[in-house]
Symmetry: C2
Subunit: 202 residues, 2 copies
């Protein structure tokens, strides 16, 4: 970190952290390699030693994000419950909570210009996530939930709710939308009510 050293130390990680901050503050459009380099007090070409190009940086960021969101989804309270419904409900809450707390990373996850240049690591991270959701959904089907619905379709449905809800809730549009009562709501209650709609605990 000290400016006296020629070598930076762990520039790659600092670049990623700074990238998350910038996206949080100004969106993906505000992200520039040269801007990051300036912020870290390093020459404009330095980031190229750690990321082949801008797409590679975004891809790394998205891969990191998928790992994080999977972790948040699987480590939430009650995920380990023996009741598949309670477990899946907990996963949904963990997912939505993480998305609301990490809007910048969340937005990179499904960003089309990121997925378009996805490398193998990113594809594998995405696959792991969808697999985890699919497994949990399959478990609820074994106890009678939504019988007859193809697993892949049911998984899309279950996944779409926290994803679509988060997309809407972190949309800058909401800021312009005055009548909303949601901004005053307790976050946990909001999460609970939304997830209970898609995975009822009856």
């Amino acid at each position: 970190m000290s400016k006296k050293h020629y070598h930076h130390g762990n520039l790659a990680e600092d670049i990623l952290n700074r990238a998350v901050q910038i996206i949080d503050e100004g969106g993906l459009g505000a992200l520039t390699l040269r801007g990051i380099a300036r912020d870290l007090g390093v020459s404009h070409g330095a980031p190229n030693r750690h990321f082949k190009n801008k797409a590679a940086l975004l891809s790394t960021l998205a891969t990191y994000g998928w790992h994080k969101v999977l972790e948040a989804t699987l480590r939430a309270d009650n995920v380990d419950s023996l009741d598949p419904r309670l477990s899946l409900n907990a996963m949904g809450r963990g997912f939505l909570r993480w998305a609301l707390h990490n809007p910048a990373l969340f937005r990179t996850l499904h960003h089309p210009d990121v997925a378009r240049f996805a490398d193998d690591a990113l594809i594998e991270a995405m696959r792991q996530f969808t697999q985890a959701i699919s497994d949990a959904v399959a478990a609820t089907q074994t106890i009678g939930n939504h019988p007859g619905v193809p697993l892949e379709i049911l998984s899309i449905y279950i996944n779409a709710v926290p994803f679509g809800a988060a997309m809407f809730l972190i949309d800058p549009f909401l800021t312009h939308y005055e009548q909303s009562e949601i901004q005053d709501m307790d976050e946990e209650i909001l999460i609970e009510q939304l997830i209970n709609l898609v995975v009822p605990l009856k």
Copy 2:
């Protein structure tokens, strides 16, 4: 269109159409004002006469998209049904069908870098859409659907399903995902099964 004329005719509209094509082909990252100008055989500064800047072009595109998706949502078969559930179900199908057929425009709708610089027209278009959904959801509540759930939360839930599902289904990631049976499915059946999950016709 003839190259012999100094004035182009209706350049603004042609710019928008070409922009949609470019986003369809190469994503939002492939969209450049100069590229559009080249494609239309016009000087690089010409688009500035019709759009103050790139953000204004994207904003116009998004506004147009919101109008289109609202139209597709409200004009689908059975939307006029007297049964609020059947009507809302039809709206969901109309929405999802449109999104799958217009991935480029759909992606601009909630693109954070677009909403961030939203002008009044865009905000109003968004508001009209959410209002239409909210009204239809409220109608289903009057006949006993999801009693006790706050309307705004229920609306987010209802909206999240076709939105999140479309987001996933048009994700370039799916291309890398071999085991998927979804790509071989009939689109209408896919739409029907997904929407029936969130708005059951019992």
